[in-house]
Symmetry: C2
Subunit: 243 residues, 2 copies
């Protein structure tokens, strides 16, 4: 038996997220279909993180087990042949049988793109913010979020989650012509966490919240105090790190 | 009477090019519809260049005449309200009445994006080339095209064209992760010219033509000798220059 690790890129625009949902197009369902067409076996494909509806990925990690002997390059080629063009397998490698892309991950990196002018090109890959934003204030407020905290205020509550503590290692903002981008690295992310963090920092950039407010919101552990969940289309899962 | 100049960005994916064609979606038709909805007048909108079906623009220039007194910012806002999201008016300005975006243009700049790996993201904004390419050879061969030449070999013949001479001012190649991009500046471009030039340079990059062949093709003035017209989706009209 082998364990096959996949690096997967996808344009999330037309998918109801990663995870299989009956009757809905999802990335996991497309991957399982492609594996089945290729290997003539129905095999579960596990992902490192369940991206939400509309979220993109540059380097999602997934895996499946098989006893077929195809070399990795052939597996990549075959899966890409059976996958739609908005999902691509970028890399295939053999990993130890016990490797689990979700539970073994130690870090995840996401990027959120905000467009400051409404553009035609890349409109599915960024969120247009119509308000002028003070990036310096957003950078300062980001510092409040770095470190180990309870992120109850910055996620959608879920019965599946044992606790809401996450260690945010870094938040980096970069500025391009007409757009800004936030990159965030953490050991784990809760449901909607990046989109609520960015939604709250946008309020800081607009001047309706301060850095101190962000600290207070974090401490209050109350989702209602944070900013709104901004749209999925600006969000990319960039990569996942393993020991 | 005023003459209004527009800078227009569009995602050409779902359009049959710039120019109005009965029964087909075109960028010019959408602009004329938006102007009509806004000003309650049917006015012709002239463009600097007729981009082909599927070609994108970052800075197409267009104009229309009106006697309405709205300030430029209001015109931009109103047109964008009536335009689909894949066409955006980026800038509006008053220009002299005699300004003609097509005949007054002295330079046009295009970019062509080639993806060397098939990606899910940006798949509508680049052409995937499955062959490995030698960029150095492509750069050398590009030198053969710079200058004033008869480009009969590098265009689709057209009865509307008085002559096939163009002055190519520069061709610049840049290299990104998994992709390359050609930028070309010329006083004018013939039908399909950029796509045939890049299609021919790709043959050089693959090793099936040499720089000397490119020179010979140019001198022979025979479309059949050049490479194929590569897909529109990698092509962007970047900007248009006026005196």
């Amino acid at each position: 038996m082998r364990n096959i690790k996949l690096i997967v890129e996808y344009d999330g625009t037309r998918y109801c997220g990663w995870q299989i949902q009956p009757g809905e197009p999802t990335v996991q369902a497309e991957l399982e279909k492609a594996v089945e067409k290729f290997l003539q076996q129905k095999l579960p494909v596990i992902g490192a993180g369940r991206t939400d509806s509309g979220v993109h990925a540059l380097g999602q990690v997934a895996s499946f087990r098989t006893d077929k002997a195809y070399p990795p390059e052939i597996i990549a080629k075959a899966l890409n042949r059976f996958l739609p063009l908005d999902i691509r397998v970028l890399d295939v490698a053999d990993v130890p049988l016990e490797f689990n892309p979700r539970f073994d991950a130690i870090k995840r990196r996401y990027r959120y793109h905000i467009s400051l002018k409404r553009h035609a090109i890349n409109r599915f890959y960024s969120w247009y913010c119509k308000y002028p934003l003070d990036l310096q204030k957003m950078k300062s407020a980001s510092q409040m979020i770095i470190g180990e905290h309870d992120f109850t205020s910055f996620c959608k509550a879920s019965p599946d989650v044992a606790h809401y503590r996450c260690i945010v290692e870094s938040i980096t903002w970069s500025e391009m012509k007409d757009s800004i981008c936030m990159e965030i690295v953490a050991n784990r992310f809760l449901h909607n966490m990046v989109r609520i963090i960015v939604g709250t920092l946008v309020e800081v950039g607009r001047g309706s919240l301060t850095a101190q407010d962000v600290r207070d919101i974090l401490e209050k552990r109350d989702r209602n105090r944070a900013g709104r969940t901004i749209p999925a289309r600006g969000l990319f899962l960039v990569d996942v790190e393993y020991p």
